[in-house]
Symmetry: C2
Subunit: 348 residues, 2 copies
Amino acid sequence: MFNIIISSCEKQGFLRKLGSENRLKLGPVGSLLLQNLKTEWHNNMVINKENSVFLSHDDDFSNTFNFVKNMCSFKLPFGIAECVKNKRECHNNKNEMDFEQFFDESIILRCSMLVAHTDSTRFFYQWQRQRKMWWRKFSPEPGRYFLTDLKTDSNGTQTVQIQTKYSWNSQLIETITLNPLPKDLDELDKFKEGKKTVQCHSVVSDINIYTMFLNTICDAFTDSEYKGIQRTVLRFHRKLAPYKISFAISSAVTTASTLLDLNDLALHLTRQLRSVHLSTLLLPICSKISLDAQWKLYDQLGVPYNILLNEKTLKDGLVLLRSRDTTLKEQVHVSEIVNYMKQLFENY
Amino acid sequence: MFNIIISSCEKQGFLRKLGSENRLKLGPVGSLLLQNLKTEWHNNMVINKENSVFLSHDDDFSNTFNFVKNMCSFKLPFGIAECVKNKRECHNNKNEMDFEQFFDESIILRCSMLVAHTDSTRFFYQWQRQRKMWWRKFSPEPGRYFLTDLKTDSNGTQTVQIQTKYSWNSQLIETITLNPLPKDLDELDKFKEGKKTVQCHSVVSDINIYTMFLNTICDAFTDSEYKGIQRTVLRFHRKLAPYKISFAISSAVTTASTLLDLNDLALHLTRQLRSVHLSTLLLPICSKISLDAQWKLYDQLGVPYNILLNEKTLKDGLVLLRSRDTTLKEQVHVSEIVNYMKQLFENY
């Protein structure tokens, strides 16, 4: 199954196999997906609703910590988010089907929350729930995501993993640890809570961005048969989809001038949609191949909405908006389509 | 002047001096600024209004090119955007005051537009104008940005630079080149325009992200004196500001319970603002130090809007919204503040 997914996604530019060694590299469509994943992580972790989180540049945790400590007047909690880059280490004891084994480098998105010792256990459990919900929010099959049992090592560090269940195995996608003695911190750091002095614990979330990438693809992949026709769809959450909207022009158009007008209209709408930062796909083939062939392509790219223009559009100004998930089409007027799309993609 | 800017920004966590060698590293506030710059580049270049641009992952131009060529059915124009990472090369002939000399690594944001040879010159000039306008859009002093004269080298490559004029020197911030023979392309690639075959030229924009970072800071920095009081402000465009909104609680609050209520209100509003992905700063000092000291801090951080809560807020639900640029305050009702802020930050 995993290999079917990889082959299908290779064709669509999500990724590319390197040689024979089971190594993968991102393609252009995959790069957009990765970008969207990073943005959502940033929106959830750095612009963190509950606590103030500060972003640390490459490998600069302790300097950031010292700066933030003063900025927050020694008051907990606060967080530090960072992006940790490593060459992938070779773990021989790991399963070769683990997502992280497929990429040569590893980029860890890490968020360390520094919490008073009196509050750390409550926070640890609350975060586990919140993080699981975050993954589920973006998934077409939320039931896949689960928390593993708690493990405690000899230093008192507690670890919980968020994993995804697939037909072939379970994949680790996020590790959450509670460290009673954060190693990067000076033991002398004293924090205040009201008038008491408290000790600082850290609760750390680690996500490998390439694992997140492969997980998003495998989670979204569905391969169904309906009336004898195979249908492959990547059911990305609309916030993650590399392309939000694509265009199709009905191939039943009769005259060349009508076709030209419809192409101009598609170009005009594309510009408007891109002006509001919606990533829109407009391909030259959109007026050349049959609609069925186009739906097939756009479904495999995981485009949530397709706008269909036909001869009638030039007369009554109505376009058909096709949803990837329902395959149903609704009529929308050309003048309203941009605002309507903006609203659809604003919400989660 | 440059050194004054650096010292002032070092205090506020934008950057940090490394040793004596004139090397800089990004601080936590600077990391947020860099992130915003990348996002704006992505919105303008990758989600490109005029042409389809595809995002290429690390160092993979020719593979991306081959994929995109097929996806676009050999029709020009299209673009490829990428992020090129290098260790900084030591150019002894360069001015040591050049922004790019201050960082150890260089990250080039590159966008290559592939254009038919019949169209490339028109496109080259149009892009120069558009790019200059893009820089000016974000600048509090748009007059600083100018295009240099065109240079042509022996291969026929034409180069134009966008520079910024400062009191100490002029800084190169973007290079735009027109290459008649793009070096990464196979000469055999034939593209179609209608029924004719056309040659492929490339127009390339290169921006060093650290140069962009320092330029944004220096451009935004103003140091003015009003009634004998020195006022340092970073006048960031609201899309670029690391923090969009900050909170202040009037120090004239009399009772402890009122203060607690106001703190709760600030926390509640912060959560709401962060839910709509507005980066909001809520510091413990916001109820501890005088308003003037707070305005000074927030101005030096370049926060465009500050929300002031006072005793009256609990009675009539009105907060004061202070603008960094005008220092004027307007009254807004608590229930409207989130939507109002959302609108302010949506527009350019």
